[in-house]
């Protein structure tokens, strides 16, 4: 974990609420974490766990009716949730770049790929049209696109899914960002293409000393790329630990169940373990631990509110039984 002074991003008590006409949905609650320069942090969780909302909050991109009900997102000391728009625009796409799951929604279908890439650079840097074009060609080559000049003249629909995601990644890397937010960047891709894209992110990280926030539902993807992992459930962080610790000694019962239910290609005895029940409905307020109804070791005290608490310098969990009784896996 990074020390206070060196954190590039510090999220503090973030709470994001969606006001619907008849009810309120709390998509993220009391989320706090830090990312140091060059560090890769992973967020894992299932659909509805709030991981994408956290990502979007980092660039103040949560769409209405969502609003930031509490907390701060400090980037280099500036609160991105309250700073003037002009200041935010200087960060968006320049110092913090973002890649989404579906590259088709990130590209303009009417414009040639090359024009979009060059435009992204010219928005943030004073460069001539031709210099921007050349820079874009080079970045496309860097991300492993064969014949980049021809691809620059293509429209997005003429590229394959993997090539589109690489083009989007090239666009994100053009401005040499300090932080790359990748929200399920490989979920829509085939495994062999996924391997290519993950390797690219890894390489860009080394070359640019770029920090990465990687959101994924796939524990294998996170295991390969990230140094630390946050596990989210029902809008809250339930466990935070260095990647090796988390996989070796998961402490929260949800993390343990999630790891058990992830199929492992190399397992000696492949087994099917599921978590009983369904994820909770966030529209109705949850008292105590949100996972308790599905948890094998739930006790009476689980109905009290739970706080993410450090077990040691690096490992924190929100399970009250682990905190107070030292419950072991």
């Amino acid at each position: 974990m990074t020390t206070e002074g060196s954190a590039l991003v510090r999220v503090d008590g973030l709470r994001v609420v969606f006001d619907l006409h008849d009810r309120q949905v709390c998509a993220a609650d009391d989320v706090s974490f830090k990312i140091g320069p060059g560090e890769a942090l992973g967020i894992v969780g299932e659909s509805g766990s709030g991981k994408s909302v956290v990502c979007a909050s980092l660039l103040r991109l949560v769409p209405p009716p969502g609003r930031y009900a509490a907390g701060r997102v400090l980037f280099d000391g500036v609160d991105l949730l309250t700073c003037p728009l002009s200041q935010l625009r200087a960060v968006r796409g320049k110092r913090i770049a973002m890649v989404f799951q579906d590259p088709m929604t990130a590209l303009n279908p009417y414009l040639r790929v090359g024009d979009q890439l060059a435009e992204a650079l010219r928005t943030h840097e004073k460069v001539s049209r031709s210099a921007a074009w050349d820079a874009a060609v080079n970045t496309l080559r860097d991300v492993g696109i064969a014949d980049p000049l021809a691809r620059m003249r293509c429209h997005p629909h003429e590229l394959s899914g993997g090539m589109r995601q690489r083009a989007v990644l090239a666009m994100a890397l053009l401005t040499r960002p300090q932080l790359l937010i990748a929200d399920e960047p490989t979920t829509a891709l085939d495994v062999t293409v996924q391997a290519q894209v993950l390797e690219l992110i890894q390489r860009a990280r080394r070359e640019l000393n770029m920090a990465v926030l990687l959101v994924s539902h796939d524990l294998g993807v996170v295991a390969g790329l990230c140094e630390r992992v946050l596990v989210m459930y029902a809008g809250r962080v339930v466990e935070s630990a260095p990647t090796t610790d988390l996989f070796k000694t998961p402490r929260h019962p949800y993390t343990r169940a999630l790891l058990r239910s992830t199929p492992d290609l190399q397992a000696v005895e492949p087994q099917l373990v599921s978590i009983r029940g369904q994820p909770p409905d966030l529209a109705s307020p949850i008292a105590g631990c949100a996972f308790a109804p599905r948890c094998d070791v739930a006790a009476e005290k689980c109905s009290q509110s739970q706080m993410l608490t450090a077990l040691d310098a690096l490992h924190a969990t929100a399970c009250v039984r682990v905190q107070t009784e030292g419950l072991q896996p």
């Binding site: 299932e46 659909s47 064969a146 394959s160 899914g161 993997g162 090539m163 085939d190 495994v191 062999t192 293409v193 996924q194 391997a195 290519q196 993950l198 390797e199 539902h217 796939d218 524990l219 294998g220 993807v221 295991a223 390969g224 990647t243 090796t244 996989f247 169940a257 999630l258 790891l259 239910s261 992830t262 199929p263 492992d264 290609l265 190399q266 492949p270 087994q271 099917l272 373990v273 599921s274 978590i275 009983r276 369904q278 994820p279």
Partner: protein, 321 residues
């Protein structure tokens, strides 16, 4: 034991318009010469990346897509030769489950209506027995009676998939083709549906063709796995053997690309990163269609299509292996 399903040289080709303003047509050979057999009660996994033809093959077997050539025999019955009423009647033998139950269930029909329709599609069930039969179906897939009068949108993804499975079971089929049945579900729910399919297979003696891209899942659920690339089976064998000791260079690359949920093993793995994208099925490469991306290719691979050859219970289509 005799084979329940015999698939012989099945080809499914699609004509595609050659550009918006030209009149010519090209052909996509989505499935191009696939043969295999299946025992009764067996679970066969069809693996491969998008565009490899696994879904088209599954749809062709249950005659949702017309084959261009070849033959599919189910329990001695030539499915490819059936037409009209004969085909409709035969559909009680084989059913399909799709990836997205939200799309495959009628949003305006309650669970009861959906299942009654399926029950009556092929058999005359006395009205007095209907409710009991529906309840039995629900019980088989782990849903309670309270589900009867609810609509699909009132269920979660996992429960909806259970309803789709119950509907497939209603006609008492011999074979179920499940096309990515758990891909749209969360990991914690996935295993529930996989366990259910496994139990049903054992209890009802069903045969299952499981189409999926996740080899870790297929390894856990299937007896055998067939790996497809560009319309052909490149490797077929017992699930554990194919995943643990793949023979075909493509299978090896595919398996090495699957991330393992363990940081130490994941970081120390040798990964074969394939260059480029799969080729367009409109203009497949000559010879072995994998040769442009293959590190082990020889001259023969460029000119000659390798046949699927069986040895010691495993089949591979590769000149080099």
């Amino acid at each position: 034991m005799s084979a329940l399903l015999e698939v012989t040289d099945v080809r499914t080709w699609f004509p595609v318009a050659d550009g918006a303003f030209r009149n010519g047509t090209q052909t996509v050979k989505a499935v191009d010469g696939v043969s295999f057999t299946m025992r009764a009660g067996e679970a066969l996994g069809l693996a491969g990346e998008s565009g490899c033809g696994k879904t088209t093959l599954g749809r062709t077997i249950v005659r949702l897509t017309e084959p261009t050539g070849g033959r599919v025999k189910l329990d001695g019955l030539d499915v490819t030769a059936l037409e009209g009423e004969g085909l409709r009647k035969s559909r009680a033998q084989f059913q399909m489950i799709f990836q997205d139950p939200q799309a495959s269930l009628n949003p305006r029909m309650t669970v009861l209506e959906t299942l009654v329709e399926a029950l009556q599609a092929h058999r005359a069930v006395p009205a007095a027995e209907l409710r009991g039969r529906v309840l039995k179906l629900l019980e088989q897939v782990g849903l309670s009676e309270s589900a009867l009068d609810q609509y699909p949108h009132q269920f979660s993804g996992g429960q909806r998939q259970r309803i789709a499975i119950a509907r497939a079971l209603a006609v008492e089929p011999k074979l179920i083709v499940a096309d990515e049945p758990v891909s749209a579900l969360d990991v914690s729910i996935r295993a529930q549906i996989l366990t259910l399919l496994n139990e049903l297979r054992a209890r009802l003696g069903l045969s299952l063709i499981f189409i999926g891209h996740d080899l870790a899942v297929l390894r856990g659920v299937c007896d055998r796995i067939a790996v497809m690339y560009l319309g052909r089976i490149v490797e077929l064998g017992p699930a554990r053997d194919v995943v643990d000791r793949p023979l075909h260079p493509y299978t090896q690359a595919l398996i090495s690309a699957v991330p393992v949920p363990d940081p130490e093993r994941e970081r120390s793995r040798q990964r074969i990163v394939l260059e480029g994208d799969p080729p367009s099925p409109l203009s497949p490469p000559s010879g072995c269609s994998f040769h442009p991306r293959c590190a082990k290719k020889s001259e023969r691979c460029v000119s000659e299509v390798p046949p699927l050859v069986e040895r010691d219970g495993r089949s591979v289509a590769c000149h080099v292996v």
